[in-house]
């Protein structure tokens, strides 16, 4: 593992915790499901068919925005939200990294006990 790569991954750790937490909620998952088609949606569109208020939806959108899942784009007077797949790549990278470290450690254990 290169030092640079490790530092870069370490630096990303905190946002990553946010990413996991952002996905651990049914309402937010439903919002991501609506947005991941690629079309930006207004808050009204996202509130449609939901039992939640605009305020509640806005709150959930903020959590997703902080985790980097959605971006707010302004179209005239209206705010629209669009999906950003980048954090999902981040999780994959992190789990791949931890997984690769275990492969190396277990290979060392194997030669240690089999020698």
């Amino acid at each position: 593992m290169s030092h640079k790569r490790l530092s870069r991954i370490a630096a990303k750790r905190r946002p990553r915790a946010l990413v996991f937490a952002a996905l651990g909620d049914g309402t937010r998952l439903a919002l991501v499901a609506k947005l991941c088609g690629g079309e930006p949606h207004s808050i009204s569109q996202l509130t449609e068919g939901s039992k939640l208020t605009r305020q509640a939806i806005t709150k959930h959108l903020r959590v997703l925005e902080r985790a980097g899942f959605v971006r707010c784009v302004h179209a005239g007077r209206e705010s629209r939200y669009e999906f950003d797949p980048e954090p999902i790549e981040g999780i994959k990278e992190y789990l791949d990294f931890v997984s690769a470290q275990w492969d190396q450690a277990l290979a060392r254990l194997k030669s240690f006990v089999e020698e």
Binding site: A17, A21, A30, I91, K92, Y94, S99, R108, L109, V113
Partner: protein, 150 residues
């Protein structure tokens, strides 16, 4: 979708040998590349210093959970908490479990690391997928990487 890393490895050594390599703090340190201050005691924090070349500045800290002789060794930690300026203590730690099983050729070691925060459950993901046909390749990628075959 699961948030578990799982590894299976067959070791050509008796279970008692593998158990010692895992739970004797000096032997653990040899292959894991950490210099531990003292033996593993369930419920207690294990301290040490990483000896992996280039990472000697990194501290090792884990809380030993279970020591069930020749069967299960587990601890919680913050995986690869390598930045000395960062406070990892507020993050939820992950659980690392080593399970041993006797097999004809020696020992089967099953390693799992779980608890990478709140990943949506299988059921949620399933609902998610059915709700939206346009779900992206990225989600499939993450699923492939974190999903475990039962």
């Amino acid at each position: 979708m699961s948030n578990v890393i799982e590894k299976r490895i067959e070791l050509k050594a008796p279970v008692s040998r593998v158990w010692r390599a895992l739970t004797d703090y000096r032997e653990f340190g040899e292959w894991f590349r950490v210099k531990l201050d003292g033996p593993f005691v369930p419920g207690q924090v294990s301290h040490g210093q990483i000896t992996y070349p280039g990472y000697e500045h990194v501290k090792w800290e884990a809380v030993v959970q279970k020591l069930e002789p020749e069967r299960l060794f587990s601890f919680t930690w913050h995986p690869y908490a390598v930045d000395p300026k960062m406070d990892y203590s507020k993050e939820t730690p992950t659980l690392v479990e080593f399970r041993l099983e006797k097999i004809a050729s020696g020992t089967l070691l099953l390693l799992t690391e779980s608890g990478f925060d709140k990943i949506p459950s299988d059921r949620r993901l399933e609902a998610f997928r059915m709700n939206d046909g346009g779900w992206t390749q990225q989600m499939k990628n993450i699923e492939k990487h974190v999903a475990q075959t039962p």
